[in-house]
Symmetry: C2
């Protein structure tokens, strides 16, 4: 290799997942194999904020067993953030500060695991560094349970969240079935997904036969009709005797108004995103008042992105591969790319997956929604195409370490701080 | 054996659990070994309602592999109910109808898996049958994730729910820790338990070190003080930088008023129980308004009693043993008894468990609360005594069958209906 030698830094951004640490593990383990290029392997504390604050760790000093255990540890071990950098013009002070920190610490490689905002950040940092005469390689590692990144077949984090959410809906279905002694019981499980309904759609796979939940699946991609919904629930109750509904939190009516805002509570988080959580409450009221049956709601909340205890081995392995591929891309001389997952094989029984690369700029600020062909004509469930897409991603049980108390062991990094040098 | 020969019927009652089917499996598999006594092995559809409605299955006709898979299938495969029989005087028509159905079908043994209401029902049925000159043996099998039955060291269903809830709190903790870039993030996980806080207390075991969630645990057993709560959260934020709180849904203030009623929404279910779910919302408002930090809520809902995908092997095995022991008790000539779990060994590392028997009347309508010695002095976390109690119950990973889609396979009984004979 005749690559420019320098330190590399890896950071995590956005909502944590069960496997984003596996990606970081892939970055660290691969980078440590190439000390001739990566003279140091650093982590940034809480994403780009860690760079801005010059809050860096020396990951090379960590116990190698703990690094390896990142494959079996959920959430963002380096800490995450939702700090959004704007355009270079508007956030110039931040960008210049970042480049200064990189320069001061001889950091030449930046690996950023995150969603589309993070890809935009990584792209702009590399661009500005170049303009400032400092060679900085930025490679993105895809991450999101929402599965809404373009250019990649799917996103690490999605398969595990899908497996957990689908299983939870399946189990909630068995509960509702068992307690429906006098028939007419229903439950609504609210699934994460503000704009893209991938995760809610994935729960549809649990519906293997007529009795299996979810009987109805509603996604943000299809305008939600309250009248149609009432008719749907009545149909299921008549045919099955009980009804379990999976609903994406971001479902909207035909005017684009969030169902969460129609009836339930909602709020904005510190990042300005609408903090959803009311769609299921709105629907519960409709079911109880209009259909006249009892209805329970389940909101798995952040558990959906953390359930390492039932994560997909396929997902863990692919997440690791994405991290490794990011480092390999840098070694091969690429810059401003995001690693992508490329599906091979013919259909779900013949699934294979390799990695590719896409321009960061082609990923940044775009969202991939569930295609209409993955949703049935009535708009209340998924099609076989969606099943074929998601099934292979949920396969395999990711191993975890278990303590004498029967609970998982999720180690933490020690976080060996790099002394600050920037004034 | 010189026992009275006749059919036996097994039924399930109350909230389903991950392991109540394992108990039914224990009953069926053991009863089928003794055809000289149990001339038929029946199931009642939806608990005592199935008897009242003469809605019975012939379990002897089921595929033996499916019977065995009940150990790996959550919820109540026979269906459950919350139909509460009152005193013999007040519900005489029901009781007489039940005895009539039993008599007509030559049912001499009734195995009822459920909580304390169910034990009361089983006790009264046997008594009334005796008064009517019909020998009927009633044996109860303990079941409840709430762990609130007296006379038994613990209840089948609790260990698995504890394992899942503790793990979910642990994982929610990692999420909160990772996203707390600017510090001051908090989350509240609301745990089932109207009167007894066993399950919320069990989540306390996930707090292995200072950073580990839950940092605070509040139970219905200790009067809740809003002032103390605010001070507790501030302390944790100061020391740890973020705060995850586990709270039993039934927490009450010093006047006995449910926190769920102080601020959040609540309702009554069809059974007359207050349908809680608002405690976490009430506390969230307090945290956001009084402590001034962002707070998320997680309500696992019915998932807590269904999470076969991460159930305790100890719990599954003990649930099966309770079912088997119920049949053995009947064979040994006992009547009006509930099987109990008797803890052996010295401490959690030396745990063993056998079964015993207690009078149904001593179990019926009593609740066992978390003892004060299991709760710390401040009333905001658990003690080592609680850890020692619950840890062995969560041990071992219960096996499940997994389909090609990566999701669990939970079979259903076919339900071979017994022709109705009662007019």
């Amino acid at each position: 290799m005749s690559r420019l030698a320098g330190h590399c830094v890896v950071a995590q951004s956005g909502g944590p997942t069960a496997v984003i640490n596996a990606s970081v593990c892939g970055v660290i383990q691969t980078a440590l194999k190439h000390p001739e290029v990566f003279t140091g392997v650093y982590g940034a504390n809480h994403g780009i904020l860690g760079v801005l604050n010059e809050d860096l760790f020396d990951l090379g000093k960590e116990d190698r067993a703990v690094i390896d255990a990142l494959k079996r540890t959920p959430s963002s071990a380096l800490g995450t953030c939702r700090y959004k950098l704007k355009s270079i013009e508007k956030s110039r002070v931040d960008y210049e500060r970042i480049v200064k920190v990189f320069k001061t610490h001889d950091i030449r490689y930046f690996f950023y695991a995150g969603g589309n905002d993070s890809m935009d950040t990584a792209d702009k940092i590399s661009q500005l560094a170049g303009q400032m005469g400092y060679d900085l390689v930025a490679i993105g590692v895809p991450k999101t349970i929402d599965n809404d990144l373009p250019m990649t077949d799917h996103c690490p984090g999605f398969g595990s969240a899908a497996k957990y959410a689908a299983t939870s809906v399946m189990e909630a279905g068995r509960d509702t079935e068992a307690i429906s002694a006098k028939k007419d019981y229903s439950a609504i499980v609210e699934i994460m997904g503000r704009h893209a309904g991938w995760l809610a759609a994935a729960t549809g796979t649990a519906h293997r036969d007529e009795k299996d939940a979810p009987h109805l699946v509603y996604l943000p991609e299809v305008a939600f009709s309250i009248e149609r919904f009432i008719a749907d629930v009545r149909d299921v109750i008549r045919q099955v005797g009980f009804c379990v509904i999976a609903v994406g939190e971001g479902i909207r009516d035909d005017k684009g108004k969030l169902l969460a805002e129609v009836g339930g509570q909602f709020a904005k988080d510190a990042f300005g995103h609408t903090q959803l959580g009311g769609a299921s409450e709105t629907l519960r009221e409709i079911v109880e008042n209009e259909v006249g049956i009892k209805c329970r709601t389940i909101k798995l909340g952040n558990c959906q992105r953390q359930a390492m205890h039932f994560a997909s081995l396929t997902d863990v392995n692919e997440a690791w591969q994405c991290g490794a591929a990011a480092v390999e891309a840098a070694l091969a001389g690429h810059n401003c790319k995001m690693v992508t997952l490329v599906r091979g094989g013919n259909g779900p029984e013949d699934y294979s997956c390799s990695t590719g690369l896409a321009d960061l700029s082609s990923v940044a600020n775009h969202e991939k929604l569930v295609p209409r062909s993955f949703i049935n004509q009535t708009g209340n469930h998924i099609t076989q195409a969606m099943r074929d897409y998601v099934m292979p991603l949920m396969r395999g049980q990711a191993p975890i370490d278990i303590g004498p108390d029967g609970l998982p062991i999720y180690p933490r990094l020690r976080g060996f701080a790099i002394p600050k040098k920037v004034t």
